[in-house]
């Protein structure tokens, strides 16, 4: 797989100005009840949504109501992620109103419905970077992008960081607004002027004001917390030692981590080391949490590159810190975007549902084979970072994370460098230099993946293989567009 085949500079103006209405909000603002007259809804259309409202999203379900009311058929949904709140999709899938889905992450009843085989034309799962590529390369044409917009101004400009439903940044919606045939902004906050334009008013066809575009409780977590689990803290301690031992932790260090408790504990450990050794990093990226904000404000990083805010602290920071930058999904992780950030990462901390003897990782399906997540930025950052570290308990709820073979490949093992567990650290054999260095300079318990597998099996016994049918319910596409794996119907 060629990670960066076909790199080129996107000239975003190629995609702009897909309407002739200019900026003026007064010419674009319509009532929700008028939408069906303005948009010629018909069978076979493609609608897109971003997921910055996460499980508090109040916008997509409005459109699903319209699909149901008009009994539209063969609709394709291009949603950057799908959450349990999108339950109304299930009925539409079963009735063949929605027959195809593109997404980077799906959890809850929609995921279960797809795994049960109800989605007629199957699901196309990709990464966040891949989604930007697919849209900007026009591999799929969006008819209407419905953009949940925390703030719209009198010139129809949109941003994500003002208003009662602020989500901080709209990184995943930028490509949609650039390429969709029509863009409908749905907002609960119209102001005179937005401070920081993320989507230019020229790209917006219609603006609809409603009472509430989302439930703030579901949009971001109040606070994200480091784990208090002693084993989780132990894993974080080992991971920090791996990073320190790798030699990458020096001035200019760049870092990404998720919002999971162990991942945050790694950030906490790194913060202590960086303070102690007076190390100043260049940037931290990705979904941003309060922990990374703390590191920025402590002077440990020069800047944050933020595609999505994970907690309230990050939302507040993006307004007050000028070095807390917003970025689009394309700038974040599109392999065809010459400026993508992930290729400049030193270290990324990631999770895994399963990892196999060849370091392939599954974060898409659960131990029962049912879809319960997806890549998000997993395979993008793993491919880009110099050191992609998986942190996970070896055994959790009597299930081993290490398998002889993963159920589904979300991220190919070639791009995974290290697995850190409470029973020790496995380093991809391709990094013999790192193995030798850590052996010499640290007292970490270095093991092979096979040794970790054996330990896990000694604790859990060998699990029975999941029984999946031969019927495919979808594909997993790698970030460069190649087919990575299939998703199969789960038998009861």
């Amino acid at each position: 797989m060629n990670k960066y085949a076909g790199i080129k500079d996107y000239v975003f103006h190629d995609y702009h100005f897909n309407n002739q209405k200019g900026h003026d909000l007064s010419k674009k603002q319509i009532l929700l009840s008028e939408l069906e007259k303005k948009i010629t809804f018909k069978d076979g259309m493609v609608f897109s949504f971003h997921h910055h409202m996460r499980n508090g999203d109040g916008v997509a379900n409005i459109i699903f109501d319209i699909i149901k009311k008009l009994d539209l058929k063969d609709i394709t949904i291009v949603a950057s992620s799908i959450f349990p709140i999108h339950l109304p999709m299930v009925e539409l899938i079963k009735n063949k109103n929605i027959t195809k889905i593109y997404s980077a992450y799906i959890s809850g009843p929609v995921a279960e419905c797809i795994s049960a085989g109800y989605l007629k034309d199957g699901v196309h799962m990709h990464s966040h970077g891949s989604r930007a590529r697919i849209l900007l390369e026009k591999e799929i044409i969006i008819d209407v992008a419905f953009v949940a917009s925390p703030c719209v101004d009198q010139k129809s400009h949109i941003n994500g960081s003002q208003g009662k439903s602020s989500c901080g940044v709209l990184g995943y919606a930028i490509a949609d607004a650039l390429v969709a045939k029509q863009v409908v902004a749905i907002t609960d906050n119209i102001v005179d002027r937005v401070d920081d334009i993320e989507i230019d008013g020229h790209n917006v066809d219609y603006v609809i004001e409603i009472d509430q575009i989302g439930d703030p409780k579901g949009i971001v977590s109040g606070t994200t917390q480091i784990t208090r689990d002693p084993l989780g803290l132990l894993i974080a301690d080992y991971a920090a030692k791996v990073i320190e031992g790798s030699g990458l932790l020096k001035d200019g260090f760049s870092f990404q981590t998720g919002a999971g408790g162990i991942s945050l504990a790694v950030a906490d450990e790194l913060m202590k080391i960086m303070q102690e050794k007076d190390i100043k990093g260049s940037f931290a990226s990705g979904g941003i949490t309060g922990y990374l904000v703390k590191m920025l404000e402590a002077g440990l990083f020069e800047r944050l590159e933020d595609v999505q805010c994970f907690d309230l602290e990050a939302v507040n920071s993006i307004v007050r810190n000028e070095n807390h930058h917003k970025m689009s999904a394309s700038i974040y992780a599109n392999p065809y975007d010459a400026h993508n950030i992930v290729k400049d990462l030193d270290v990324v901390i990631l999770g895994a549902t399963e990892i196999d003897l060849n370091y392939n990782v599954n974060v898409t399906t659960g131990s029962n084979g049912v879809i319960m997540g997806g890549s998000g930025g997993h395979s993008d950052t793993a491919a880009g970072a110099k050191l992609a570290i998986i942190v996970s308990k070896l055994v959790s709820s009597r299930i081993s994370v290490v398998k002889d073979q993963v159920t589904t490949i979300t991220t190919p093992g070639d791009s995974i460098d290290v697995l850190v567990t409470e029973y020790g650290v496995a380093i991809n054999p391709k990094h013999q230099d790192l193995i030798n260095k850590l052996k010499k300079e640290t007292n970490l318990k270095l093991r092979t993946m096979a040794e970790l597998y054996d330990i896990a099996i000694s604790l859990t016994n060998k699990p029975q293989k999941i029984k999946l049918s031969d019927e495919k319910v979808g594909i997993i596409e790698y970030r460069d567009g190649t087919l990575l794996d299939y998703l199969y119907k789960v038998t009861k």
């Binding site: 002693p230 084993l231 803290l233 132990l234 604790l459």
Partner: protein, 284 residues
């Protein structure tokens, strides 16, 4: 007799399967599986059974296994001994140790390889420490339980621990004289790591060889303080190097950086290097 290298000893309730299974991973030099205070009266039997199954299933690794049993004046003492003596463990920790209870336990363990750690948690225990530690050759060390000690003394426990100063110093002195290891009392505020650090440093300064922990998050702080520092190791290496040279030259006492070095300093340097080796901070 060389004392075992135990910087940290972590208490784990014996009735928690998840913790029993993973305790050895948490970085402490020893685990104290607790059958006493952490176990409610109606779970004493099941806790013993769980430990038995755990020790049968999990192979013993480098972590030292200790089981704290109930005191002799409790109804669980004999049942505890009867079952625990068959476990694959290194030590039994005897709650509220006295001369008579140590002797009783030692007799019961005479056909095993298990040794004894005395838990000293009363005024009498502190005063009679020398005799308790000498009551059987199986007794290799002790733990100071300051919470029960303060209760017995009817004094208030504080984070500064001025109220147990004399007891601590007397305990460390006695153990040193008898060549027994001594664990300091656990620090009970599991969120205050700053004062924990102060407390550990005090214990080390008094002569304690290690400290008990009641939360896994305390372990790394205890290990850090009781692990020889780079400065200590470098000085010890200098001393040993100079001692070898002096020996070759037939000198008993010699000078290093303007200071006299004799046998006690050489012995201490040797111990520092041995402990650094056991802690994994230097190689052979």
């Amino acid at each position: 007799m060389a004392l075992p290298f135990i910087r940290s000893a972590l208490f784990i309730p014996a009735n928690n399967p998840g913790m029993v299974q993973t305790a050895h991973l948490l970085g402490s030099d020893a685990i104290i599986f607790d059958l006493e205070d952490a176990i409610s009266l109606n779970q004493k039997d099941s806790a013993r059974e769980l430990l038995k199954a755990g020790f049968e299933f999990f192979q013993k690794d480098e972590v030292i296994r200790i089981v704290r049993i109930n005191p002799m004046d409790s109804p669980y003492f004999n049942d505890d001994i009867a079952m625990v003596k068959s476990f694959n463990i290194d030590y039994i920790m005897l709650a509220k140790a006295s001369i008579s209870s140590v002797k009783a336990l030692a007799e019961a363990l005479s056909d095993t390889n298990i040794k004894i750690i005395a838990l000293i948690e009363s005024a009498n225990g502190v005063l009679n420490l020398k005799d308790i530690l000498s009551a059987s050759p199986l007794v290799e060390g002790m733990l100071f339980g300051a919470e029960d000690f303060a209760l017995d003394m009817q004094i208030e426990r504080t984070k500064q621990s001025d109220e147990i100063l004399m007891a601590r110093q007397q305990i460390a002195l006695t153990c040193k004289a008898l060549n027994k290891f001594c664990f300091d009392t656990p620090f009970t505020d599991t969120e205050d790591f700053e004062m924990l650090n102060v407390d550990i440093k005090k214990a080390k300064a008094f002569g304690f060889t290690g400290k008990a922990c009641i939360n896994p998050r305390q372990v790394k702080y205890v290990n850090a303080v009781f692990t020889p520092t780079i400065k200590e190791i470098e000085y010890a290496q200098e001393v040993i190097f100079a001692a070898k040279k002096a020996q070759e030259e037939g000198l008993g006492v010699f000078s290093l950086n303007g200071k006299m070095v004799d046998a006690p300093i050489i012995n201490r340097s040797q111990l520092v290097l041995e402990n650094a080796l056991k802690a994994g901070v230097i190689n052979e």
